[in-house]
């Protein structure tokens, strides 16, 4: 039995369908990435799993138990933590307060050890724990948002666009971090527009198009298939096309010049 399973899940916002009949599963300890264009429904799917939006039909199962009727707080207690798009940290509060809120639904006796774990992963945050979170850079805010998610002691981490608005160097660090978390037994669902990097670290991937799963499979297979990569991910053959165009252009220039000469 998969750890998390979605059967024919549909979501619409005021009668406009956004997700249609999504089937998806995630095994324990996997990194699964959801890729696709802007507006393809990745974020909505993540929200449906965490309970921010309600799915109209279908079921969402964790360990075989349906959770689609539970409020976000109950899903959090089942170990589903959602690190939302755009970070959504509490910018008027200190790092410490943000992290404490992350553990809001957890019993008091585990909070100290969660802090220990988070400080080990993010020494920067420990050094700046009394500062206002709003003063941090985009990358540091993303780190804080992930740390805040980890404070609930999740078994499944939902990461929505963690690379958005983050400097490239820090993006690498965040992706490295996701692998580290997997080594500690945290299952991760990663919704990303930065498809190449997401596929590089993920085990499996689902490609979204217009609210449907267009493709799914092992991420290395998806990366290796040039046709898939160009059609859905905008990588791979795209560069080949532009090389061809520039070669043609050079050719035409040369002939034009020779005529003049």
């Amino acid at each position: 039995m998969p750890f998390l399973e979605l059967n024919r899940v549909s979501v619409s916002y005021s009668n406009t369908p956004v997700l249609r009949d999504i089937n998806l599963y995630v095994e324990r300890g996997e990194i699964v990435t959801l890729v696709g264009a802007n507006g393809a429904g990745k974020s909505t799917l993540v929200k449906a799993i965490s309970g921010l939006v309600r799915s109209q039909t279908g079921e969402i199962l964790v360990n075989g138990e349906p959770i689609q009727r539970l409020p976000p707080s109950a899903r959090l207690r089942l170990g589903i933590a959602h690190v939302p798009e755009g970070r959504q940290i509490f910018s008027g509060m200190t790092v410490m307060e943000n992290l404490r809120l992350g553990a809001h639904a957890s019993p008091a006796d585990v909070i100290a050890e969660r802090f220990e774990a988070v400080w080990r992963l993010f020494p920067v945050l420990k050094a700046r724990q009394a500062e206002l979170a709003g003063n941090f850079s985009g990358g540091q805010q993303q780190m804080l948002a992930i740390a805040r998610g980890l404070m609930s002691g999740p078994r499944i981490l939902l990461l929505d666009e963690p690379s958005l608005g983050v400097a490239p160097l820090l993006v690498n660090e965040i992706f490295k971090l996701i692998r580290t978390l997997r080594d500690r037994g945290i299952t991760t669902i990663l919704a990303e527009q930065n498809a190449r990097q997401a596929l590089a670290i993920a085990d499996r991937a689902y490609v979204f198009e217009n609210g449907k799963v267009a493709l799914s499979g092992l991420s290395k297979d998806l990366l290796d298939s040039p046709e898939v990569a160009s059609r859905y991910l905008g990588i791979g053959s795209g560069t080949a096309v532009s090389e061809m165009t520039s070669a043609k252009l050079a050719e035409r220039l040369r002939t034009a010049l020779s005529v003049v000469a």
Binding site: T16, S50, P71, P72, Q88, F90, L101, H104, A105
Partner: protein
């Protein structure tokens, strides 16, 4: 010198109460982003309960007071759970403001039914003898007032900054979506903050009870003072609430002592307007900005109910015919007069709809322009014998002048601060109407205003007045409908949806807002004049702040942004007391309850419900909500 200190002490005691109520405003606003006007009502309920337990039943104070506060808080939470909390999920903030105004009316009506309309005076907690410090005399009750204020401030501060619950409350204030991801139950926190604000108001009520006489409608005064105090200070800031309350208390007391008791309020209000010009968002600003989630955009665009073209034409003709034939069917002069009044108010409402429904500029002081129009026209016809038409025109000119001056303040403001500035304007006109006895006749009103007449033809009977008003309404309505379907209406709606975006599109937002404001002022003035001529009398409470709030309620109950819809609200709220005369005691309660239910169950107003009904009847699936909503939801 000692006199001055004595006056300041008095001002501080009054200010302390305002500050406590303002704290409640701040608290609810910070957690929910909405204004809760019902608090003043709870303060009075708690005081009345305290009186009943302590004086009528003879319980000792240490039992009576906590029980009164406890019962009020409990009642408030139950009421909040079924009204305020569900409304937050469905209504725009402006509608929630009016919903809580409805709650306030309902609570006042409840107080009226239980305790009647006579004033109550509670004995001071620790005897009548004042405390004497050298030349300063301090009423013993003010020690209680200061003490409880300090306790409320400290308690709230500790709760907010030092506890897990407080952290969760702050999280809801800053970002409700993220808070719910942290496992915070946002709905429960909302209810808790509502209950806590009720508790604070109840404490303020029982503490202030011995220093003043309380009546069923004192709650409105508490609410307005608390609201003003909260906004002066900066609504998101707790220290700001305290500063605002103390400022308001001190200004009123000093103005009363040194200038005139009649103008004390007016002076405080002018000071307030000056502050709003200087600091458009209050004295203290919180460093935390509330995040606007997508839900709020959705709610902002929910108001547009439209009939399909063909059906609209049929219904317009039908409505015109009904309007034309109505006086033949209605023979009762009382009811016909009620309809005439509704028709007169409809003129103000159409202007208000242009301002609120289209341009999205909240106005809680529209009756102020009615007052200017009514008193100008009344004064000129009574004292100088000019014809009513000249009086009406003079009123409109004066109103436009006042609107221009007021626009210096209002054009800079948005949202709540705009609501406050317009409320202040209404209160200012109100207190001038009371204060300038020579012109307005003061509180007892201006008598002997002649009936309206044009070229010797007098509109004295309700029926003749009906046709005059009906004709004017139709002309104005047709004119405005034309206006609103042109580029002007589109520009206004763009401003309502997103002022910044409208600016970026090259829409001169300042000019459009000003024009909308002037239209609304002129129409309100016209309707105020006709109102005075129809009654042959005008008194301050006929065109006071209660009227302003009632106007907004009529507009929203009828259907905002539809121009026509508000006439339904006007008819409903005007005719109800006439038809249910025998139940006059329950009138306030019922009209409050009706408002609250209207907001909860008919968020698009009666007009919206009718449109929906017609669309279902004809099988016409007109999209009830415009595309803006779908676009907003896609985020």
């Amino acid at each position: 010198m000692w006199d001055f200190v004595q006056i300041c002490v008095g001002g501080l005691a009054v200010g302390a109460i305002y500050a406590v109520i303002a704290l409640g405003f701040s608290l609810v606003f910070r957690v929910t982003g909405a204004i809760n006007l019902s608090q003043g009502g709870f303060a009075v309920i708690a005081a009345m309960l305290g009186y009943t337990f302590a004086v009528t039943f003879g319980f000792p104070l240490w039992i009576a007071i906590p029980v009164a506060v406890g019962l009020t808080t409990l009642g408030g939470m139950i009421l909040g759970n079924f009204t305020f909390v569900p409304a937050l999920e469905r209504l725009s903030t402006a509608n929630i403001l009016m919903l809580t105004a409805g709650l306030l009316t309902m609570i006042q009506g409840f107080t009226l039914v239980i305790w009647g309309s006579q004033p109550y005076a509670m004995p001071p907690f620790s005897g009548e003898a004042p405390l004497v410090f050298g030349p300063i005399r301090l009423p013993s009750q003010s020690i209680w007032v200061f003490g409880s204020t300090a306790a409320c401030i400290c308690g709230l501060w500790l709760l907010i900054t030092r506890t897990k619950l407080g952290r969760a409350l702050r999280a809801c204030a800053e970002n409700p979506t993220a808070a719910s991801l942290m496992g915070v139950d946002v709905r429960r926190m909302t209810l808790f903050s509502f209950g806590l604000a009720t508790f604070i108001a109840a404490v303020a009520g029982v503490m202030v009870a011995p220093t003043t006489s309380l009546q069923f409608d004192t709650g409105g005064l508490f609410t307005i003072s608390g609201f003003i105090a909260a906004v002066i200070g900066g609504i998101t800031s707790f220290p700001g609430a305290v500063i605002g309350g103390v400022f308001l208390g001190l200004t009123t007391q000093i103005a009363t002592a040194y200038i005139s008791s009649l103008f004390a309020t007016a002076i405080a209000l002018v000071a307030l307007l000056a502050i709003l010009v200087w600091r458009p968002s209050g004295l203290l600003q919180s460093r935390v900005r509330r995040r606007h989630d997508v839900r709020e955009n959705l709610k902002a665009s929910m108001h547009m109910a439209r009939l399909a073209g063909g059906a609209a034409r049929i219904f317009a003709i039908l409505a015109f015919a009904i309007g034309l034939l109505l006086p033949l069917a209605v023979t009762d002069n009382g009811i016909l007069s009620g309809i005439v009044i509704a028709g007169i108010l409809f003129m103000t409402l159409m202007g208000l709809d242009v301002l609120m429904g289209y341009a999205g500029q909240v106005s809680l002081g529209q009756a102020g322009f009615m007052a200017i129009g009514g008193y100008t026209s009344g004064y000129l016809t009574v004292n100088y014998g000019v014809t009513p038409v000249v009086g009406v025109v003079a009123g409109i000119v004066l109103s436009l002048g006042c609107a221009l001056i007021l626009s210096i303040v209002t054009l800079r403001l948005r949202g709540l601060y705009l609501a406050l500035a317009t409320l202040t304007f209404g209160l200012l006109v109100d207190s001038c109407a009371v204060g300038f006895v020579g012109v307005t006749g003061g509180p007892s009103g201006l008598v002997g205003i002649p009936s309206f007449s044009v070229a010797g033809h007098e509109f004295a009977s309700p029926r003749s007045m009906y046709y005059l008003v009906f004709g004017l309404d139709v002309v104005i309505l047709v004119g405005l409908v034309g206006c609103m379907s042109s580029g002007f209406g589109r520009a206004l709606r763009a401003i309502r949806t997103d002022q910044l975006a409208a600016d970026a599109l090259g829409i001169n937002t300042v000019r459009y807002k000003l024009v909308a404001f002037l239209i609304s002022a002129a129409l309100a003035s016209l309707s105020g004049s006709l109102y005075a001529h129809f009654f042959n009398f005008l008194s301050p409470e006929m065109v006071g702040t209660d009227r302003s709030l009632e106007l907004v309620a009529m507009l929203i109950v009828g259907g905002e942004g539809t121009l026509f819809g508000s006439v339904l609200g006007a008819l409903l709220l005007t005719l109800m007391p006439t038809i249910f005369q025998p139940l006059a005691l329950y009138k306030t309660f019922v009209s409050g309850a009706l408002l609250v239910c209207g907001f909860l169950y008919l968020p698009q107003g009666i007009y919206g419900a009718l449109v929906h009904f017609v669309a279902q009847l004809t099988g016409n699936t007109t999209p009830k909500v415009t595309d803006v909503k779908a676009a907003g939801a896609h985020r």
